[in-house]
Symmetry: C3
Subunit: 299 residues, 3 copies
């Protein structure tokens, strides 16, 4: 593995190898071993959660961490082209972690850089390390990823975390996947066409709630709507409340990549279904696994 | 000691223990010893002085430091609730240092977090590590904190550093404390009611200037005034100039938590009374003392 | 060497010593040796390239790095005077690296600070570490700096990197130096007067292009123009394109301190003349050389 741009750069075997590394790092965060490495975080879009988890992961591996967490104040704001900025980081660091508002920006960076690039989110396209974290959470909850029924709720059109996870499930054998969203926010055609498992799109979660093992909720992004009334309508209808959660199987889990605004009832936090805090807690060990694989790997 | 939210979380014995630690770290900053710890700085309000002194302190202790220094670009700006942000940091770090514009925010964070929280300033409420730094400066100047006459000048209403220090003096035996400020900026009633020492509020420092051992000046914050004319009037009248300083006892000291704008005559910098630069220089060793106590302490 | 404010703080012998240090660090970046030092980066003007190269350099030397990369959110934004901010950093760190929009700010800081100050760019005045990096690039290309013909193209009036390099060439023996720019952007009189080598100002690069060994291009800064039409005219006429590059001697090199906007044809990147990426790649080892000299040096 040189770069990690798409979840498709991984395969099932590599993902399982990352799980074992994450198990190790979850037990012992202060692992060290990469004292002679520099990781650069290039966040052209504001990020706290992902940026800090990569930074913490790099430091726990003993590496140095440099970078920026917003486009403002960078040379790009002065009009520099992305390629030159990437060349700079390529020179300073052994690995570039990059978030960018444009689809495909990470792939572009990987073509410029000699050092490996890790995609930390590019537009509405992909967020592969989030998917490893998500899969790791499912595996830790059920002991498996195969054979489960998944329900994705909310914005399935623009959410890169959903996109990458749907592509990741191609490497496993989900029993069935439900897409629960308003029609305007359903999975994009170009993604749907690549899925090798059974899926069904529907608007009302109540119909299938008792089948679902893994419910994955995402934030509906206000900025996608031109009509605030449309947003309000959609936001309200895809809020997951306690009443809905109580209809789930007792073993079912609720996931969310966070940050969340108003998509879930806070009361769910205290139910056994809530796995989003556990999921979040895997951010550092999973990214340690990814970085250690990338930094230690041969081209 | 688990959290440090209010100066009232400390007692005289603990404060004196922190002094001895600060003595040690002041002699040897590159102390190390906490290489397996991560400190997170969560500054939801802009900060340079306090943020950098905590960061330097953490690094001098050998710990890793992560965090942010402004609310912009954080998940909170996207609408995330504070509790979820705290949970994230709780997961990444061994200790959370937090500044927030709202009174009580640090206490709230401490209730959410399993890891210790250190209040680096919450609204107009408290700034306990500044008080330890202030007390340390007084102790280093006079060899004691008891038995001295204190004069607080400027904004005594909104300044959290003043607030915490007034509460701290409850643990010592000040001879007398003068509150020198316009009436609109005097100490808040809820603070006054808890003070166990003799105090007196007055408007004109000239009347008591020759009694004062420790004069503590704070910035009058322009943004508290709706009428700019009122601000100008107050600002001018609580400026400490050389003429006033020359009326002080020869052993008297002038303190200021900094940053200062126009509250003091720059000429005072070169007098023997000026202790604000010495006071500032204790920022790192005192915060090393606090962090080492917090990170090394049992719950 | 205590401070490095102007390139004139160096002499030829010191510059050659820095070259040897840079050679060493270029071979082995993870050099360490300064584990007990703290470097503070005080960037009062946005910077990515210079700020990150200093940060990386400090970390590669094993030092801790603290600081800020923009004026916003600092105490200065609250109205603190620069002297107090410098005193704070002087207390926290062993060396202050400073960029500031005002000419002379670094010299002022050096007068306040006890610890050494390195000028990372002050207004339109100087940027001495960039010049060491530039000279190092020339020396690595030609094995010498003396006896070459130089052509400076673009904004020679406001560009501090040009200014420092012109002053640096006083320590060497350039054959001739051409200033190729619109009249309004030519070298300032106070700089011209100090130059001890042969120079000539002209508007059209075509006339001398075949004489030039080192062509140094700088960005024409839009914000210097009040009339956008004037800017457009100037920008277009000082763009270096492939046709011009093809008229150069085969050994000639093209340099640029970066970031670049539209001053060069991207096609030049793939010619043997393009040295700006190599030049950029020396940013970290050259700054390691400077910092190691400063941090290790006696006052």
């Amino acid at each position: 593995m040189h770069d990690l741009i798409s979840i498709k750069d991984l395969n099932r075997e590599l993902i399982e190898e990352l799980f074992l590394l994450a198990d190790k790092y979850n037990k012992n965060r202060h692992a060290g071993g990469f004292e002679d490495k520099v990781v650069a975080g290039a966040f052209f879009e504001p990020s706290t959660r992902t940026a800090l988890s990569f930074e913490t992961a790099a430091k726990m591996l003993g590496a140095e961490y440099i970078g920026f967490r917003s486009w403002e104040g960078t040379s790009l704001a002065k009009g520099e082209n992305l390629a030159d900025t990437i060349r700079m980081l390529d020179n300073y660091a052994d690995c570039i972690v990059m978030r960018h508002p444009n689809d495909g920006a990470a792939r572009f960076a990987a073509e410029i850089a000699e050092k490996p690039v890790v995609n930390a989110g590019d537009g509405k396209n992909e967020h592969p390390t989030q998917s490893v974290q998500d899969l790791y959470t499912i595996r830790n909850s059920f002991g498996k990823i195969d054979g489960l029924t998944y329900g994705f709720v909310g914005d399935l059109h623009y959410a890169r975390a959903v996109n990458s996870l749907l592509l990741a499930l191609n490497m496993f054998k989900p029993k069935k996947v439900y897409f629960i969203s308003p029609e305007s926010l359903t999975v994009r055609g170009e993604v749907l066409r690549t899925l090798n498992y059974k899926y069904e799109a529907l608007a009302d979660p109540n119909k299938v709630i008792d089948e679902i093992d893994v419910m994955y909720i995402t934030r509906i992004q206000k900025e996608r709507f031109t009509d605030p009334y449309e947003y309000k309508k959609v936001e309200a209808s895809y809020r997951v409340d306690l009443a809905l959660a109580e209809k789930m199987k007792s073993s079912a889990i609720i996931m969310h990549p966070l940050p969340r605004i108003n998509e879930t009832d806070r009361g769910i936090d205290r139910t056994k279904h809530a796995k989003y805090f556990a999921q979040a807690s895997f951010g550092v060990p999973v990214r340690m696994a990814v970085l250690s694989k990338i930094l230690g790997g041969k081209r």
